[in-house]
């Protein structure tokens, strides 16, 4: 059963990393209303940074590749730096990408950011070895832990799941905090939120940077697991897979997001591997993407809220009137909620 164990454990690690990605996007899109089509860039920078600070300098046994920031930092510093890199790059992108503009324009700008970053990383071999990417990244504590390779798989599974749970707790806490409520208010009624004196630009930037940090962390975890990273792994369409998972599962509902991640990038994309070859090589792959597109469109048409919709356990600006009309004691809360969000 060894080979099966390797396969299953790999899927669990990928699942945990995809869930982290989906948490990041859910925070940014579901709660902050930012359509971050450059998500994968922040995962990529995390992966590159974690790789570079693990590999050591690009001389000697690494002379076949060139990259910046080469260092041999001990675990868990590469992951920490990956998180910081994701946050820092989000701050830079956010400072110009999140200016107040139409949402669809903003999405287009972020998409273009993704394209630019990809082209630059691919073309400039001095950054992270261009299109060949960086390889040979050792697993964290891989040589110090007295484990078989299968034992290590399980340790990594536990490690990624633990991080996943910690991040889950963090995002849950964030989205139910006053800050999270201000975020939702901004998403649903931006002008009303501004009129309450909330600095929406700062708020948007904050959620963007936190999401970017989680993305960077997920990239670091991924690259330490697979040992290589190149532009082939982070084309901009990768972002859409996470979005699909979120749409299918249920935007804004963390359990829905987890369910969607299980359904789309894991089950749906792994199942075809078990099919016998149909048609010419590559046909299954095309059909897979056609189905993703149809799933996407279908979920937007029939279930825009996803399989598990957002729990409306708060008062939303749009419901303000009806709630007060119904005499709920929560009715007064909009302004105070937002003021708390400020504090």
């Amino acid at each position: 059963m060894g080979a099966w164990e390797f396969y299953i454990t790999t899927l669990v690690v990928y699942f945990a990393i995809d869930v982290l990605s989906a948490f990041s996007l859910n925070l940014q899109f579901g709660f902050g209303g930012i359509i971050n089509l450059s998500f994968i860039v922040f995962q990529a920078i995390g992966a590159y940074v974690a790789a570079a600070v693990t590999l050591g300098p690009d001389t000697g046994q690494n002379a076949f590749q060139t990259y910046i920031w080469g260092a041999s930092l001990p675990f868990p510093l590469p992951l920490v730096l990956a998180t910081v890199a994701g946050a820092a790059l989000s701050l830079v992108v956010g400072l110009f990408g999140l200016r107040r503009m139409r949402k669809d324009y903003q999405a287009a700008v972020l998409l273009i950011v993704s394209l630019i970053a990809w082209e630059v990383a691919k073309s400039d071999v001095h950054l992270f070895n261009g299109s060949n990417g960086v390889t040979g990244i050792g697993r964290p504590l891989g040589t110090t832990l007295p484990l078989s390779s299968l034992g290590y798989q399980w340790v990594y599974v536990v490690w990624t799941l633990a991080i996943c749970i910690a991040v889950y707790a963090l995002v849950r806490w964030l989205s139910s905090s006053p800050w999270g409520r201000a975020l939702r208010a901004m998403r649903d009624q931006e002008d009303a939120t501004i009129s309450l004196g909330i600095n929406v630009t700062a708020l948007r930037l904050q959620v963007f940077v936190i999401g970017g940090a989680i993305a960077g962390l997920s990239g670091g975890l991924l690259v330490e697991y697979i040992g290589a990273w190149s532009p082939g792994a982070w084309g901009y369409a990768e972002t859409f897979v996470v979005f699909t998972a979120m749409f299918v599962g249920g935007i804004r509902n963390y359990k829905g997001v987890i369910l969607g991640t299980l359904l789309v990038p894991i089950i749906f994309l792994e199942l075809p591997r078990f099919l016998p070859p149909i048609g010419y090589p590559g046909l299954i792959d095309s059909v897979e993407w056609i189905v993703i597109g149809l799933m996407w469109m279908g979920s937007l048409y029939w279930r825009p809220q996803g399989l598990l919709p957002e729990k409306r356990n708060m008062v939303f600006p749009g419901e303000f009137g009806s709630v007060t009309g119904g005499g709920s004691k929560a009715g007064f809360s909009l302004a105070s909620l937002l003021r708390k969000g400020q504090g």
Binding site: R100, K103, A108, V113, S286, G293, W296, M297, L300
Partner: protein, 296 residues
């Protein structure tokens, strides 16, 4: 040095004409519907394949241009009427519409990938010997493509300014509700917009493959970001803006390719858009507070 610059500018103009035709189609559709239609690239590719099939059966590439355009019209109309409109009827917001068109783009592109076996098809038509214009060396085909861009632009401007339907189109794009109350049949205007923008989209697909000499399933999608960038930069609904931005982007990309590393040329094209955004946020800010409505 000077020669290189002049040549790069000339090449930029050729590239700009390809961008401009696609971008004009995109911008009038965008101006009217308010919707960033990301499936536009897929329709471009599909039209290019239609032209490819015709030409490979011995039809002249010039007819290929027209048939490709008509194919684009038809596809755009069908998709607009039977796929996109139902979403708008359900009250989808602008960015939701964009998401829908993205899903549609996936379906179109990978449908084309399945049909084309993921192969690249050579499209070497209209080859001819170069012309020397002073320091510039250029081929007759390139001159013709640049001319075609100009013809399309002038034709479109005349259509929008002088004909009834053109005026109705501009009015609907500016104020759909007001236009309707003035007796303009906006439904008909939308159909005309689908047909017109679809024609330009299909035409652009064929022009693109005449220039690049090959067609594959991702041809249009790879080109789309430049097209959208030019349309956004030029302002929604403005063919003139689209042409000017296309020229700017075409020339910038070619000059960067000539003087720097060509690998950075597309990056430079996009950077133009980002810089404009930074310097003049008003260009794309549009009607932000009260979000614009989808007109379909």
């Amino acid at each position: 040095m000077f020669t290189t610059l002049i040549s790069a500018i000339a090449f930029g103009v050729v590239l700009a004409s390809v961008i401009a035709i696609a971008s004009m189609g995109f911008t009038i559709q965008f101006g009217l519907t308010n919707m960033l239609n990301l499936s536009y690239g897929g329709v471009m590719t599909a039209s290019a394949f239609v032209a490819y099939l015709l030409v490979s059966h011995g039809v002249s590439a010039w007819y290929g241009l027209i048939v490709g355009g008509l194919a684009g019209s038809l596809m755009t109309l069908v998709l607009g009427r039977f796929v996109l409109r139902p979403y708008a009827r359900r009250g989808a917001k602008l960015f939701e519409m964009m998401m829908v068109t993205l899903g549609l783009a996936l379906v179109l592109d990978y449908g084309l990938q399945a049909l084309s076996h993921d192969n690249i098809y050579q499209f070497t038509v209209l080859q001819s010997s170069p012309i020397h214009l002073g320091p510039i060396v250029i081929t007759p085909t390139q001159v013709i493509l640049a001319g075609l861009g100009l013809v399309v632009f002038v034709g479109l401007e005349l259509l929008l300014r002088l004909t009834r339907i053109g005026k109705a189109l501009r009015a609907t794009a500016a104020e759909p509700t007001l236009a309707r109350s003035c007796g303009i049949r906006t439904g008909r205007v939308v159909i005309v917009t689908w047909l017109l923008s679809g024609f330009l989209c299909g035409l652009a697909g064929v022009v693109y493959i005449i220039n690049s000499q090959s067609v594959g399933y991702s041809t249009g999608e790879l080109f789309l970001p430049l097209v959208i960038a030019a349309a956004l930069l030029g302002g929604a609904g403005s063919p003139k803006g689209a042409v000017v931005s296309a020229l700017l982007m075409g020339i910038v990309t070619q000059v960067v390719a000539a003087f720097g590393q060509p690998a950075y040329s597309t990056v430079a094209g996009f950077a133009v858009l980002v810089i404009v955004l930074l310097a003049r946020p008003g260009v794309v800010a549009g009607s932000q507070g009260a979000e614009a409505q989808v007109t379909l």
